[in-house]
């Protein structure tokens, strides 16, 4: 379907394409079954960043306050990229791992299902 507009061919500017982010791209991170973080979190990251650096340097700042975070065994974590399961290569970059602008990375940490049986 398309919008009904006064003038034929109307199209708004793409406001959030990657070139607007000064060499970075947006990546959203979603820790499954941990609703203490009420929404997936959105950060700008360089596409050259190794996936391992995302895990070691970025995630603690995002999710580190949750009591489960220190218990995570990252070798066991199960990842989804844009809704599809995938195995990230830790030493390779986000770009080489197929993580594009506005990608959503969802991860599950087996054995850790949040607090009080409420996925919190």
């Amino acid at each position: 379907m398309s919008v009904t507009a006064i003038r034929p061919g109307y199209h708004g500017d793409m406001k959030d394409t990657v070139e607007h982010f000064h060499g970075k791209q947006l990546v959203s991170l979603w820790w499954d079954r941990h609703l203490m973080y009420a929404t997936p979190l959105c950060v700008p990251l360089p596409p050259q960043m190794p996936f391992g650096a995302l895990v070691e340097q970025v995630l603690p700042g995002l999710f580190g306050q949750h009591p489960d975070f220190a218990k995570v065994d990252w070798r066991e974590a199960r990842w989804q990229r844009d809704g599809q399961p995938f195995d990230p290569a830790m030493e390779r970059s986000l770009a080489d791992n197929g993580i594009g602008h506005k990608a959503l990375l969802r991860f599950r940490t087996p054995g850790l299902d949040g607090l009080h049986g409420a996925c919190f």
């Binding site: 379907m1 919008v3 009904t4 009420a38 997936p40 306050q65 594009g100 919190f120």
Partner: protein
Amino acid sequence: MNPPTKKLSLKENYALLTRGLGWEPSYEKHEDIFPHVQFEGIKIHDWDRWEDPFRLTMDAYWKYQGEKERKLYAIIDAFQQNNGHLNVSDARYLQALKLFINGVIGLEYSAHRGFNMIGREFPGVGARIAAQMQAIDELRHAQTQTHALSHYNRYFAGMAEFPHQFDRTWYLSIPKSFFEDAISAGPFEYIVAICFSFEYVLTNLVFMPWMSGAAYNGDMSTVSFGFSAQSDEARHMTLGIEVIKFLLEQDPANVPIVQRWIDKWFWRGYRLLTLVAAMMDYMLPKRVMAWSEAWDIYFEQNGGALFADLARYGIRMPKYADVTVKEKHHASHQLWCTFYQFRHAAGFPVWLPSEEEMDWFSAKYPDTFDRYYRPRYEAWRAMDAAGTPFVNATLPLLCQTCQWPLLFTEPDDPTTVCHREETYLGEKFHFCSDGCRDIFRHEPEKFVHAHLPVHQIYQGHYFRPEADPTAPDFNPLVEALRYMGIEPGVDGGDFRGHIDAVNWEQWSHRPASLHEPMQTPPADEQRKTA
């Protein structure tokens, strides 16, 4: 001497105003004068079938409105002279007023603009007069709401910069974008969106909790505004139903177009009302009813009867009405949890509910509160008591359509965030629900240039001119708050120790929250301990 002129009857007066004032152009083409009434595909064969059920004439309109203004301002004067701000239930009630002044007044003003536009664009004189009167009503509401709340602004924080906050604060982009979507649509979509979907179907859910809430909580100023606006709202609602019947009766081809607009604007309005859900359940110290009860009465029952009545035109219930019924047990709690973790970036202070309040929630939300939400508040309370209060310092992923963070869960699974995605011209877009994704899919050309505050912050557009992004201590999130007009400790943050709470207890000698003990012991006890 001339004989006295015969006074016109109301009917004659209205007929002259709405029929006699119109004329057929002789040297300009009709479509050049009214260029925006064709492109949406709505077919109108006879504008004279438009009937204003009130047959309101100009002289009557000015007389009624003038009388209401006189009464309202007399009450506001008395309220101010009697220090009425100290007679409300507690200092938390004031925080609900901040949502009103920062979020709602901007909507009233936008409605004023929108009705001016359609008052110009419709060829039918009856419809133009009705739109013109509503435009004046909406402007009056923006002004009288500002005046009703101005007294509070002398004493409490977070109300002084309301137009600025409406334009810039991240969660106020939700109401702002709602109205800008309507105003940038065609005139028929605008009137279905605002007069019918919002005013007729949903507005009770705004006015009832706010105005009954004001009455229950001792706010004479705001409740007087409510009374002054009530007869206008009744007229707007009646207009809303007339609009829909007029459009549906004019041509069967209008039915599917109107149905899609109802689907879209019901969902957009419903998402906007999440703000009211949280306000009702969490911000009113003396509660009127729970959000789940309000939704049951005002949408499921009243709305159900309305759509049963409209079935004869071929109109059905709005799409995803069933999802709203599932969400009514969760929405207010999920939003309050979101405000709590982002309280440093809110325009009002936030608190965790007390034991007594949680018991009320358990009674009102027996299937969900104890299972999903009480454990959250207890865990956060423990973290707070341990001196490590929980804060979410990262920006959320926003829905491209409604602009809420993705804070709602799957309709059938309250442990999983609801996320939908769409790729359009190679670009990814994220949504909070099927309803919001459907709206995008129908009009991607429009929604690709939605102004999403999180993305704007990361693009570097939410800084004041004097900000220096090259400075070594530059913090983009702190600068973004400054740009929004949010001063940490004055606007958002914890309610405990907040400047409004401290002042309230000092001035009224009553607890800042009526569900909790005094935050600061009275001065004589302080002297004793010293």
